[in-house]
Each structure stands twice: as C-alpha cells, then as structure tokens.
Subunit: 338 residues, 4 copies
Amino acid sequence: MIIIMKRNASKEAVDHVSNIIRSKGLEVHLSQGQEVTIIGVVGDKSRLADQNLEIAPGVDRIVPVTESYKLANKKFHPQPSAIPVGNTEIGPNTLTIMAGPCAVESEEQLLLIAHEVKKAGATFVRGGAYKPRTSPYSFQGLEEEGLRYMAKAKAETGLNTICEVVSEAAIEAAVKYVDMIQIGARNMQNFQLLKEAGRSGLPVLLKRGLAATIDEWLNAAEYIMSEGNSKVVLCERGIRTFETATRNTLDISAVPVIKAKSHLPIIVDPSHATGVRDYVSPLAKCAVAAGADGLMIEVHNNPACALSDGPQSLTFPQFEVLSDELIPYAKLAERKFR
Amino acid sequence: MIIIMKRNASKEAVDHVSNIIRSKGLEVHLSQGQEVTIIGVVGDKSRLADQNLEIAPGVDRIVPVTESYKLANKKFHPQPSAIPVGNTEIGPNTLTIMAGPCAVESEEQLLLIAHEVKKAGATFVRGGAYKPRTSPYSFQGLEEEGLRYMAKAKAETGLNTICEVVSEAAIEAAVKYVDMIQIGARNMQNFQLLKEAGRSGLPVLLKRGLAATIDEWLNAAEYIMSEGNSKVVLCERGIRTFETATRNTLDISAVPVIKAKSHLPIIVDPSHATGVRDYVSPLAKCAVAAGADGLMIEVHNNPACALSDGPQSLTFPQFEVLSDELIPYAKLAERKFR
Amino acid sequence: MIIIMKRNASKEAVDHVSNIIRSKGLEVHLSQGQEVTIIGVVGDKSRLADQNLEIAPGVDRIVPVTESYKLANKKFHPQPSAIPVGNTEIGPNTLTIMAGPCAVESEEQLLLIAHEVKKAGATFVRGGAYKPRTSPYSFQGLEEEGLRYMAKAKAETGLNTICEVVSEAAIEAAVKYVDMIQIGARNMQNFQLLKEAGRSGLPVLLKRGLAATIDEWLNAAEYIMSEGNSKVVLCERGIRTFETATRNTLDISAVPVIKAKSHLPIIVDPSHATGVRDYVSPLAKCAVAAGADGLMIEVHNNPACALSDGPQSLTFPQFEVLSDELIPYAKLAERKFR
Amino acid sequence: MIIIMKRNASKEAVDHVSNIIRSKGLEVHLSQGQEVTIIGVVGDKSRLADQNLEIAPGVDRIVPVTESYKLANKKFHPQPSAIPVGNTEIGPNTLTIMAGPCAVESEEQLLLIAHEVKKAGATFVRGGAYKPRTSPYSFQGLEEEGLRYMAKAKAETGLNTICEVVSEAAIEAAVKYVDMIQIGARNMQNFQLLKEAGRSGLPVLLKRGLAATIDEWLNAAEYIMSEGNSKVVLCERGIRTFETATRNTLDISAVPVIKAKSHLPIIVDPSHATGVRDYVSPLAKCAVAAGADGLMIEVHNNPACALSDGPQSLTFPQFEVLSDELIPYAKLAERKFR
C-alpha cells in the first residue's frame, strides 16, 4: 500500500499518518519528493482495515499494491486449473461446449435438443429452469420441474448438465439434479448467493456482471472459493457499453487478462453477448483463438417459438456447422474436442 | 408493437408474419414504403409472447411502443405518489433527509450519530447491518444485532429507520426492527429479493443498479409492486461510466426523467455517487434543485475510523452546515423541511 | 512517479530500473515490502520521457503522482479565474447565460432570437455557423455568412457573441466577427484546432468530449493555454454512457471536480446533455446549485422548424420562465445575474 | 420513418402531423392501435429535414427505418469491396498486416524496423509522423521529416506505407510521401479533416472513435466517400468503457457487425486496443478468426526506449512468432498471407 500525500501536506500530517501505521506494527518507508511526499507501508495491511487513512489530513490518495483476491489469484497458483465436472473437466486441455435452450420449456423439447447437441459435439446441455427476467410479466421458468427434465436429459444422453440458480431454494433443488450450477450476470454481486453456491460444493459457472470489472469478478469468485469450493469456472458474456448494435459488448480481452491474473478456466458465451444469431459463429471461433477454455451457445429446435431469447439461438444445422468449423481451431489451441 | 421488415423481404415473408399476428386474434396494419414494409400490430401484444417474430424470415427488427411496467407507470397514475413511512411520508411535499453511517458499528456509535443527525434536521437514520462488500475479506456487518441498535435509535430519537437487506433472512429480521428496507444497487436485479421485499409489505427504497437503465429500474420497481406492495421509493446513487474522478457518475437527469415516466418518489445519494466528501454538499443542493424528493447522506462521528466508506462521510459539523444550506433550496422547491 | 515492481522481481531488475533513473540525474527511494518492492522517483520526471520503464524487466506498473497539466492546474493558481469576454466576465462572481439557436438559419431569425433572449436576461447570444453533423447529408451551417449575422446581432443588441469553430479557416473568420469561440465536443482532442484556438487570442469555450475524462479535458485546455492564451472556459455538456433515456448523461459532478482541480470557470449545457426540452429547466437550476459559473441554453423562435436539434430548444416563453426561476438560485450562489 | 404518437394524442394532433407530411408530397399510413396511434411515412424523408416533427404536439418519438449512410451501406453494394493500395489490396481475399513503430523517431530506426517487419510478413510499414498526444508536453512527432523517412522505407523495402494525418497541412504533405493515410480515433468526427481526406484521393484508414457507435463510424466513412473517394478501410481499435484492465475495450463484435452492414474492409489494431504487449498476440489471432481483413500491430526495435506507447509494442522476435502463428488462421479464413 502506498499513500500519496497532498502537495502542501505538513510535516505534522506526514508524521500523523506514519504514527498510525507504526502503531499497528507496520513499517513506514518515507519518500520525500520535490513536490510530494509518499509513504510506503510494509507488512500485513489488513491491520489497517479499520483506519480510513484516505481521509487523514494531508492525504491525497492511496494506491493498493496487491489484489484483494487470493484463492483465485494466479500469483499463488501459477498453473492453470482444470475443474472436474460430471464425466469431464473444464480447463487448459479441453474445449468444452455447453449448448441448449435459453429456457427449459418442456421435457420433450429438452430431450430433443440434448440429443441433437450431443450428436454435434457438445459435452454439456444447458437450459434455464429459473429465469431472471427484466419484467415480472415475462416467462419465469419451470423451476424444479425443469431441473427434473435436465436430470432426465443427462440419463438419456450422458451429457453433463448445467442450470442457472437464482436463490438458495434453487441451489438446494439443483444439487439433486444437475452437475454444475450457474450464477448469472445479474447475481454476480449477490454475495449471499455466492456464499451458498460455495457451500453447495457443486462446480459453479460464474458469469461476469454487466458492469463488473475483471477485479470485481475475481473477487466474486473469491466469495465462492472462500467457502471451501474451488470448482469455479468464469464465463464472459458481454459488458454494458454505449454501443447498441449488439445487445452487450463482448469483452474478448477478458480471456487473456483472466489467463494473466487467475488460474481459473474461462469460457465465452457469444449468444448472450451479441443477442444476434448471425454473430454467434464468428465470435465463437474468435473466442477459441483468443484462448477460451470453452463456449456456451444457445441452440433451439425452433428459435422462432422460443419463450425466451429466440433471436440469438442457433438452429440444429447452424450449430452442427459451427461445431465442425471449430475442429481446426481447437486443434490449433491444442485442446481435446470431438 | 411495430415490425420493420428487411429491405428485400418477400411478399411471402410479410404474409407469414401477418398471418401469425392474425392467428392470435390481433389486427395487422401494413405500411408499404418505397424501400421497406412496416407491420403495425393492434391489440393485446401479450398474446404474441411465445412467438419470436424477431427471427421470422424477412424481419429486420421490432420496435416496442408501450413500456413493460404498468404499476410504476405515470401514464396510469398521473399524480405523484406520497409514500407513508413511519411517522412521515416521502413525496412531492416534503424534503426527506436520511442520514447516518454506512455501516452500523456499535450501539453507542449509532445512538450518537442518530441524536446528532436528528438535531441537524434528518427525519431518518440510516445504517447498514448487512454490508455487500466486493471482497469476502472486508467487514460484512453486524446483521441482526445491528438491526436491534436501529430499533433502539428509533426508540430514543423518534427518527424513522432504514436498513439495507441482502437476503430473505435479512428481510424477515428487518420487518421486526425498521420502518423501511433498502434494496442496494448490486441487488437491483435480484428478482427473488425484489419479490420478497414486495411480500414483506414494508416500504422499500430501491437503489438503481450500477449499469441499470431507467427502464430496467422501473421494471425492478414493478417486481416489488406486482406483489401488492406499492410503497416504493427510488434512489439514484450513480452509474458506472469511464470517468474515474468520482467513484460513480451521478446521473442527475434521472430525477426529471423519473418524474416524467413514473409517479414514484425519487431521492438522491450523493455520498455513494461520488465517494468524495468534498463533492457531497454541492451535489446535495443540486439534487434538490433538480426536483429530488429527498437525500441520503453518510454522516459519521469519526470518518477516519469508519469501518466502511469513510472517505465519503460527512462529519457532524459538515452535515449541520449542509442541512442549513438546504433550507432555502427546500423552500424554492416548495417542500416541507425543518 | 512511483514504480511498482512485480512480486517476483529480481534484485537485478530493481537495480536495472534504479540505475536508469539515477543515470538521468534523479534520485531513487527504495521501499522493500514483504511481497513487493516499490521505487519512488524524486526529481524532474520529464527526463525519463524517452524511457519506457513500464516494460523494463520486473516492472508491474507505474503510478503517476502529479498531473500533466500545469497552467490549468489549481495547485499553481489557487484562486478561481474570471475570464474577460466582450463587455462582461465569466467567473466566480457572475452567472453567465448564453442562449440562442443551435444553428444560425437566417439574419432575421438570429436577430429575433437575440432580442428575445436579451430581454429575458442572457448576456451572450450563441448560434452555430459551422455545424459538425454526424451525417454528411445534414445541414452543415451558413459558415461566414452566419458569422456576419452574429456580428449584426451584437451591434443591434449589445449582447456578447459566441460561435463554434471546426477548422483553422473558421477560426480566422470568427476572429473578425465574434467575442468568443467554441471548440465542440467532437473536436476536444483535435489538437491542431486547440493550438490554433490558442494562437487566435480569443476567449475559448472548450466543451468536454463525449468520452473524455476530466483529466483529458484539462489537458485539452492546457493545449490552448500553452499557446499563451489563458482565456479558457470549460463547458460540461454530457458524456456518453449506456443510458438512452437522455441523449447524453450530464455529469454534474464535473462541476465540483473541476472546481477542486482547476481555476478555470465551468458552465453547463443542459440542452445538449439531455436532448429533451422538458429536462432543460430542472437541470439548469441544478447546475447553478452545484456551483456552475453559467449556462448555455438553446432557445428558438419556432422549435418545430429548427434545422438542427429542435427537440431540445426552449421557446421564448419557456426561456423567460426559466430565467426568472434562476434569480433566487443565482442569489444563493452569490452571483451577479440580472 | 415511423412516428409514434403519445397515448393521449388528440385527433387534431394526428391530423396536424399527417398534414405536414402530405404537404411535402409524402404519403401517410395511419395505424390506430388500442392505446397508441402510429404514423408511417412513405417517400423521400429528406423532404422533412427542416421539420422537427419530434416536437409537434402529441408526438412521442420518431423511429428511423433506414440508415443515413448510403455509399458505405451494404444494402446498395452487397459484395465486399477490395481496396487497392500501393502494390496490394485490402479486402476479402487477403490478410493485410501493417506493422511498425507508434512514432517515427529517426531514419535509421524506421528503416531497421521496416526491414524486419517485411522479413516477418508485413505488407505495410506504419509509423506516426504527427502524433496526437493527450498532453501538449509529450513528443508530438517529426512531421514532414518523418514522412520522408517513410518514403525512404518504401523505396528500400518495397513495403506499402501508412501514416496518420491530423490536419489539412499533414494531408497535403502525406500525399507526396505515403500510400495510405490514417484518420485517428480522436479525429473520427473531425468532419473537416474527413472531407479533406476524401478530396485527397488517397486510400484512407478510418479508426473508430473511442465513443463512436458503429453507425456514427459508418457515417464518418460516408463523409470521406461523399467527396468521391471510395477507398476507405475501417479499423477497430477499442472503445472506452468502465473496464481498466486494458487501456480500451476491443469491440471484436464490430467485425461481424461491419460485415453485415457495410461492404468496406475492416482491420483490427490489438496494440492500441489493449495497451499491453502480452495481450496483442491472442487478440490478433482472435481478430482473424472473427473475420477481420487485416491487423495493425506495433513493433519496435527497442520497446523500452520507444518515445510513445512502448508498453504495447512487440519486439522483432515476438512479431515473427505471431506472424508464423497467423499462417494457419489465415488459411482457415481463406485469405492470402505470406
């Protein structure tokens, strides 16, 4: 931690701050510039947690030197993690494809889609049973019934299953039926839910919040991990910006940034990132080229009748074409795929 | 609802879309331009909810004509609402000042602050018992113990009380102790929590999400109201932008925009919006001039030792000066204050 | 300047960086933490301008301590400046109102509007003769002819005049006709134009760029001032964010932030910030309450026929009402007005 | 163009708007909904350019149906364009690599870099002779001298050359020395410069503005093209968002969006988009996978001493490795490269 003093900070002000630091058993390194004095703090900064040095007289600003997340931090775990889920693992040696409808609508719909996406190379079927919708008057999901269909789809196809959870009750139900739970973008800082997800012990796919910085995202992962659950996979799904040509702006740089800062795997969801079917395939390939560990893609038997998010879903033939096109990209990335 | 067809849309495509609409018992108005055909839909659009017309062949895009929120909409409730809370009301005739520490730290701290802010003109004491913090290693709040101190502060001072809730359990506890609950920015689209807040029957202060549009915010209010609880007050607390000189960017335009679109009261929180103590007073005055129904302001007995958010808290003398300065602004706005 | 080394930086790396700094005649202050080494640089940092220490081995990042703008910086000029323009001055003791049409359309239009806004209390008439328009097929302005009408409006009404310039040629013409030139948001980092504006010697109103940070804005002011022209006034006119309810998002916090960082006056343009007539008046009052030194407001004799930006223009009666309402706010701010 | 009336719009209001439209020789299509009336306009909308229908009584909002750019629009030119530049062309069949230093520093530096990047597969050498810098005290470029070195680099290596221009004078000089000019992000809406670039007849690389929507970007291209110069290539270089882990946020979706809306080629600049050397290579590959027609990459003989933007420059060996890695990606995209 570095404390930058104001240009006109008095010697008293510098001494005052230095004394507070020393009183907590920490060391002070003074750097007296021509215009500005800088105070370096050496030792365990958590001892200063109840001191708001930022508003002590003469202080201009405080610059943190180390990240606040530890378990998710690459510095303490330099090798990329591979997260075991169901009969597979998500990590540096595989290209994981999660595919399925935005919302589970019926048993037959889910089974039909599961069979088709498996045929085309997916290793997970995804499908929302609890839907967070902007308007209370929109379709909200089949809830536990939908989870039961997920379990059935797994039994019939052998695919791994993933489903979004939006409450403690949903986590309790999901534990019984699916291989992995998803925390959606709107709940990325629902810290209560993060802790529950940590306690569940299930692998967690943590989507990035619409306006979350990468640091906040890794801190959200830390919430899950600090409950003893290290099975966290990140998912970039677009951030909110001024551009309206796509529903969100896919922050593809997040892939190499996460690889530099964390050991956790990261997958990319081009369907929600763009909201436009025609852009899904180019962005799926681009994500693999950028180093992503997997993809989450919306596929629907009849996009025109999907109860939720139809315009961004691929049809079966479109998904099959994409999956075939991904083969050489997976090979270039030295990842196991099909 | 208006459907704009693609430039090269065939007659078949136009007929196909028109037939779907008519099959749901709705009327079609065709507008054949030189370049583009437009299809107007007349009738109850909710009948089209399971049709993704957006991806029907030849469709370019769909333009909604009416908002998806109803209960929060000014169109159906033209007069501004006054929301009764405790011994007061929040609305067009009053200037409500909520003041207090970011986090409740101890009984004596809260009582001290409550007495001081009351003296200076506040009608609510605020204080966080459940703190949503970016890092799991930061102070998370006193929880129910903090709520008990809030109740004590009310008993001693007669001030109304408000406290943030972050889970169903917190709502259940809050009902017993405080006059109003707050849904924080990070939970604005935690729809489960919104519904619980609605069912609680308590007045709810709904803070705007960091990246929430005003329409999404009003839809979040609609979640609460659709559970039968119309006692909702909105709170603008800054949105996330590229600017870093302030912690968030106070969207002051939200005040007149909400007044144009909704009958719900709106208050402004300049403390969280800026994160800088020196900017709180000018922005508090500006919010009243813009038409806000109230202010939420952080005040602390010793900002330098606050466990959370110290740099933005006012001291007692600073709060007193601000409150005095607000008197003529409240008068100009024809609002009751002190 | 502070250099934060990487966690695993070797002693050689630290020495290498230290030696580069010392070789430029600067002093080094080492701060050896438990995890990280920090190098403070003491002396004139400009000597390091051709060294990219950021990519030297072992360097994590560099934290600047001092701002790059000097002439615009409050630290070296603590008193707020009052900028003389025409027969008035813009600064801490006055409330300046610039009013007029977005675009100059004809001589009679401009004269009519000038007389009306003068009557209602404006001290400047504004009007665009050179219009930067998104599409090349939109009305681009009357150019020098428009400037001549501005001069005539000044002669007839005694109002001061201001006009946007978009090129060197426009500056050369403007010098002959108007009291103040304006650099628009789209040209805020057109450094060539900034320098020319500096050399012109005319007072300059510098609008903030749509995506410019406050630091970049002050650096743009520095470009003008470094040419020997200290007559710069800033204008906040909204930044680009994700919100679409208003055309831009008025960053009202910019007013107190500029007051804290610079001695230059700042005015606010609520017309361009919102793009909606109904929001102009509440935001005008709010800007004065926040500490703004003036306002720029679009007024038109017939908003429904304005060639540019009609929806945000006030009518004469609306402007008159607003101007009357501003009187008590100007009084509270201890500013001369009407 | 569609006009959506307010819920309570009177018949008079509807008639008034309809009459204005008809008076301009256009047709009106009325669509009377249960809640809202919609007016479709058929014919050449430019005849309504001087009518601000948006503020006519009873009008809620206006929805444009067609884009304002024509020459850049794919609708009128469905085949992707290949732009001839120097001895090559930029377009759907080639992968163009522009490489070189951010700023031209000396003749020997530029020649050394030109030889190296040519060897590694670049077909253009880039280098700034006029540098738009945030602070007036930063290095501003060698100007015409730098252009002369560019011409020499072309003569010695046979590479095509590209250089940013920031003023009319710079364009006049550039015409004599280089094959292609670049309009930088900060000047994307410097309409005067766009027109001059159009008149110059030289191929133009148009970088996207930091806060420019894709529609504004295509309108900026339209400015150049409307001067009779159709040789325009677009360059995505990152947009400004709240995320600070990278200098800007690379909007990779812009590649497929541009391909859907325009026939113009688009290249990607991962160096400026991220500002971090380590992220350049993964994003370069990802851009090719997304469909980009080329890349602009900063390469420097000694990044640690670069006068500008060192931290994002690749070394020669790094560039060579990247160029080799791009070969299979170019092949997958069926583009000629090396």
